[in-house]
Symmetry: C2
Subunit: 224 residues, 2 copies
Amino acid sequence: MEKNELIELFEKVFPFWNKMSETDKETFCRTAHHVVFKKGTNVHNGNECTGVILIKSGSLRLYMLSEDGKEVTLYRLFPGEMCMLSASCVLDSITFDVYVDSEENSECIVVGGCAYEDLSRRLVDAKLFALETALSRFSDVMWVMQQILFMSMDKRLAIFLLDEIAQKGGDTVALTHEQIAKYIGSAREVVSRMLKYFASEGLVEASRGGIKILDKKRLREMSL
Amino acid sequence: MEKNELIELFEKVFPFWNKMSETDKETFCRTAHHVVFKKGTNVHNGNECTGVILIKSGSLRLYMLSEDGKEVTLYRLFPGEMCMLSASCVLDSITFDVYVDSEENSECIVVGGCAYEDLSRRLVDAKLFALETALSRFSDVMWVMQQILFMSMDKRLAIFLLDEIAQKGGDTVALTHEQIAKYIGSAREVVSRMLKYFASEGLVEASRGGIKILDKKRLREMSL
């Protein structure tokens, strides 16, 4: 990636860019990695300090992982967004482990955690930005928790299917029951049973490519 | 409460106290309320800006609430700690609602949210402190989420009972099944069934005052 292009990106995503010294700007550019993560790659693993990840294309999925390998998706990140929880050395107060996978082939810029941490000790705006970015995800996680703990499964599944086609376009959700279960924090059996019920109600139908949505209107009513 | 006493407390809990102007210090003292919340009182309700709550004695419980009244306890606050999530006007990025109840008669100092917010716009250290305090609770909440989503109920109940007697002393947990269910994010029926099982295993026994712990050692093994 061209240095000019990199600077343009940094200017856009870091509100404190213009307050940085020339030396610091140089360091950021020099330590930044341009990486393309293949679909399905693990991008960040627990308590490592992978760095601040800026997403240029594709999408990343953040999740929790239990000891026996069960996953719960917390949220996804899309182009223009950034992952701050993967820069654990910047954020002392984050003591939990999150995992990040690439959901599609994803082009990312990774700013080294050390470079950011070093900057944030000298430039309070960088520190504020890191804290605020991390804290804003607290709200996302609480939302997921509300969904999982309080909402009934039919509602959750309806919301998930509608979100999927809203994001990806088309009318078919190209995921397995296993994958859907991971996304909504449930078990495959539960998802399969609910999809069978949805099909019997004429809301969806199993198709070669995945799950075809037949009645968006009624799914939307279920999701309210 | 004496003003001197108040200043002494603020010096201890706010690391930025000595950087505040005399006027700001005056405002903090003037807008601070000394309140004793009776056991069971609701202290903070959803998206209000109640202010920053410092706990002098007693304990507060933070929880989420579903539309149909189901509660999940996120964490508790004890003397010397402070509640920042109740000062929602200080934290723009917190968009979820939490509820706070007093678990015992609790003596608190409440610093007005407006006074804090006003200060944090002028004194970056106050802003940083608010963000860091809020963010450190993110880790607590993630821990609860891990417990609820990934851990089996017997383990959760064992941990809860051991925590209770470690905190309160004695060998009896003076809570109803309903209350325990609220604390561990479960249903009363599930807790009752599990306690019956624990009793049949000789781990606990129902007593007049609540649940008496008979075999700490084995409970501890279960909690690992």
